[in-house]
Amino acid sequence: MALIDLANPTRFLNLANRCLPWLAGLTAVLFAAGLYQTWFVAPDDYQQGATVKIMYIHVPSAWLGMFGWTLMSIAALGTLVWRHPLADVAAKTAAPIGAAFAFLCLVTGSLWGRPMWGTYWVWDARLTSVLVLFLMYLGMMTLWRTVEDPSRAGRAAAVLTLVGAINLPIIKFSVDWWNTLHQPASVFRVGGPAIDRSILLPLIVMVLAFTLLFVTLHLAAMRNEIMRRRVRTLRLQQAGAGAGG
């Protein structure tokens, strides 16, 4: 059965247990600094007012939504090419976190869109492609939930992750193309004036804080997943012993 899962991961668990408190602490410090700057230091936009501050959550979420799939793709290579026993643990646990950040990106985007565009949802190219990314995360999570044997599910998910990784830029491109065809670009102009340093600096701090949050959550989730698999193996052994003896 999945006994190989018990061999190597012990060292990983030790490492994770040692790193996690430091990572969590650093994340908290960076969030404290970033949120302070967001609320008290960064100026309001002269047109958008305080709503511009949604950006400090929105932009890091969008970045992490894409980062999650990249991580899953690397893990998929680890599963298919190197057969690393921890690769599918990393891939499985990255999916819900990536989906959460993609969802956060959609929610903050639509909350910002309500006062700015007058509607919660427009079929803007970038909103649409993040929505598709979110749907693909959900598909991946259902795939993981359909199969009970983790290593079998891992290889199937790895194939799909890589196909998705090839497809995502194509989807992005086609949605952009579709959008320019349907509505003129005047609705949503990116950037406008170049970002001022007073806004850029808090944004960078927030992006770092969110990225560390992702890493912390991912490491903790991997640890939990390894423990969950150990429990599963033990239960299977117990059931086997009970049936045999």
């Binding site: 749907l135 079998r152 290889r155 194939v159 998705g164 194509i170 491109f173």
Partner: protein, 222 residues
Amino acid sequence: MMPLAALFLRDIRLAVRIGGGAVMGVLFFLIVVTLVPLAVGPDLALLQRIGPAILWLGALLASLLALDHLFAADYADGSLDVILTARAPLELAVLAKAAAHWLTTGLPLVIAAPVLGLMLNIEPKAMAAVTLTLLAGTPALTLIGAVGAALSVALRRGGLLLPVLVLPLTIPVLIFGVAAANAAIVGPTPFGTPFTILCALSLASLAIGPFAAAAALRHGLE
């Protein structure tokens, strides 16, 4: 080459016989196209405007419905194991099966489209454009779907998993298929621009699909 040709012919024969389900997709297509006017109303001007989109959506759903047949029957009777252990490369075997599958399920949709277009009040010139885009685009749907079919047969769970996995991947094909059809009718972009991209998508899925599907089968059934 001989074993692949034999596989191709065998799949076509199986599809047209009783239980093959080759006609089922066209019937489903017809029903979807019938349902849309019942939902949006019998306004012929509106139907003419959204006609290409309806035909594309119907064809997409119909081709998705047929995907279950691609590997499931072979898995059930054990011939998929024979194909896996055969000397012919699995990628080419997948390609042969996908080609036979497209001929028996994709091509009938393309042929049925002009007839259904009459019901949606689409003009002859526009109808030619829609048919042409379907001809160029449905191979991509079959090849992308083959990956999903391979995954779901390897996992022994078909059902709703297949569309959930496959539909997001077909978004580019849908966008450029409908865009090319609309470009031929109302403009402003020339028909060639989206149409060549649609052809490129089909070729790209021809290059990637068999490998991904074969990998899914190999890893799933080992």
